[in-house]
């Protein structure tokens, strides 16, 4: 599946929720499926310190594809991380560099990525792209 197709899947999944409470409940569900960062990787170098919530991110590069692992101390943030990882993991560095993450806007979570919201998510996307750039240079 391409990054574009994964995003379309998510948009479709969210279409059935017109109530915000249901959307958040779904994000809470998704937070349980997050590929959790392992304990050794849960260190300060992998911590993205938002003003509101903490976000951890780690990446592995195998067979030309990147896999991401993450966590957060806030559950809704964790649900959004799960979505980001689902979209970007198992992709090549070039695919991640080129990715336009329009699904966030379309499922109504754009406000969570405003630079002033400081929940670490915007920095997380930046970090994911930086991992891709770093791994690409190793190819």
């Amino acid at each position: 599946m391409t990054i574009k197709e994964r995003q379309e899947d998510i948009i479709e999944e969210f279409e059935i929720y017109d109530d915000w409470m249901d959307k958040y409940s779904y994000l809470i569900e998704l937070s349980k499926d997050l590929p959790i960062i392992n304990n050794e990787a849960r260190k300060d170098e992998n911590l993205i310190n938002g003003c509101q919530s903490k976000v951890w991110l780690d990446a592995k590069f195998t067979d030309g594809k990147i896999s991401f692992f993450g966590d957060s101390d806030a559950i809704i943030t964790k649900g959004i991380i799960a979505l980001l990882i689902r979209v970007l993991s198992n992709s090549t560095p070039q695919e991640i560099i080129d990715a336009d993450l329009h699904f966030i806007d379309e499922i109504g979570l754009k406000e969570n990525l405003s630079p002033t919201r400081s929940n670490g998510l915007l920095s997380m996307i930046k970090q994911m792209k930086l991992y891709a750039i770093a791994y690409k240079s190793k190819e």
Partner: protein
């Protein structure tokens, strides 16, 4: 005057608006307050009919704005019962006022190895400017601690004061816990050692009567936007004896007397500290906001907010696993709390979608959060236009949050 909550709410147009199709419940008043129609109107009126740069203008409009700006200064003076209107400096807000004092008072009176006492309850804006000053001057900061209820341990002050103490600076009311500090007692202790005191009144003036003749502090600062006036307005009160000795903070127009390339002499108070074109229409609107508060009556406001605080504390305490941080005997209408096991950000996100505006996080008081060993809190802060019914909506919202996350 009778306290008519319906009439008061109708004075604030934003309060009848909806967010996410739900009636707005605005409980983020410690961050900023909403504006009454009369404040909005006077801004519009001055830009529509009278706008012209103030001071030294020879024409009608300039005179009109100058007069209104200086009248606003007198309104501020009366509101806080200061001795002279020339002790009232208009600033951009509390942070600006504190930076002015730290820079100018600090330049003149703080030297190597001197000490400044601040409280553990301070907002970052009453910590960082002093740290910057202490770095420049190689001076030291000492911290007056608070107890588990969020009350300052005033007895500790005698151990902190030394011959090197040059200033004590603290807030009148804590922004994150709502504690009303015993500032009069602290000022008296400080003055018995000839130490001047600066009070950050950003969270006090909108809730209770502040009488500077009675308090006798050396500096008192507050923000306009937290007392129903526009953003970018603020006040620095300073005793004339200090302000006269302090060097100007910024250079520019209006603050000068005579300028030559060899030497410049400075204008008198308060203009010495007001370089550049001031936010005169903001200042005029600040005056209007203070008149509005006076017309409602600060004691009526305090009484209504006390009811909200008592009701809110009782109601929220009914929720299992809810912890309130800050249980001082004397408190303003602020409830800082956590639902155990639920991140404040998650709580705030859900409340937001129910139309309830609260603030989450450390509220720019990281040392206070460190004291309790928590990442932050959810803070509901009430103004006099809030109601018991709105607290019930918050209560129901919190029950929903608990259900969702547990």
């Amino acid at each position: 005057m009778n306290f008519d909550i319906k009439k008061i709410r109708s004075d604030f147009p934003i309060l009848s608006h909806k967010v996410y199709d739900k009636p707005l419940v605005y409980f983020d008043n410690a961050a900023t307050t909403q504006k009454p129609q009369c404040v909005i109107d006077i801004i519009s009126e001055f830009y529509t009919k009278y706008n012209a740069n103030i001071h030294r203008g020879v024409h009608f409009l300039s005179a009109k704005c100058t007069e209104a700006n200086e009248n606003a200064r007198k309104i501020v003076q009366n509101f806080i019962n200061a001795n002279h209107s020339n002790e009232i400096i208009f600033t951009r807000g509390t942070t600006d006022s504190i930076n002015l004092i730290a820079s100018s008072f600090g330049e003149k009176f703080i030297n190597k190895d001197d000490e400044i006492i601040i409280s553990e309850l301070e907002h970052h804006s009453n910590i960082v400017p002093w740290q910057l000053l202490c770095e420049r001057k190689q001076a030291k900061i000492k911290v007056l601690p608070f107890n588990e209820k969020g009350e300052l341990i005033v007895d500790e002050l005698k151990n902190l004061i030394s011959k090197k103490t040059k200033l004590i600076t603290l807030n009148h009311v804590s922004n994150s816990l709502g504690t009303i500090n015993p500032v009069k007692e602290i000022i008296e202790i400080a003055h018995s050692h000839n130490i001047p005191v600066m009070i950050d009144g950003a969270q006090a003036v909108q809730h209770q009567k502040v009488d500077l003749k009675e308090l006798d502090c050396d500096f008192y600062v507050f923000s306009g936007h937290k007392i129903f006036a526009p953003t970018g307005t603020g006040v620095l009160y300073g005793k004339e004896k200090w302000l006269n000795q302090m060097p100007p903070y910024q250079g520019g127009g209006d603050m000068i007397d005579v300028v030559t390339f060899n030497k410049t002499t400075y204008n008198e108070l308060p203009f010495k500290f007001e370089a550049g074109t001031p936010n005169y229409i903001g200042n005029i609107a600040l005056g209007k906001a203070l008149e509005y508060v006076s017309s409602v009556g600060i004691n009526n406001i305090a009484k209504h907010e006390k009811e909200l605080l008592e009701y809110g504390t009782k109601k929220l305490s009914q929720i299992d696993n809810l912890t309130i941080y800050g249980n001082a005997k004397n408190k303003t209408s602020v409830i800082s709390f956590l639902l155990n096991g639920i991140h404040p950000y998650d709580t705030g996100m859900v409340l937001d979608k129910l139309g309830i505006a609260v603030r989450t996080g450390h509220h720019c008081t990281q040392p206070v959060m460190d004291h309790f060993n928590i990442p932050g809190t959810v803070r509901a802060s009430f103004a006099f236009y809030n109601t018991i019914e709105e607290i019930d909506i918050l209560y129901e919202g919190l029950l929903k949050v608990v259900k969702m996350f547990n």
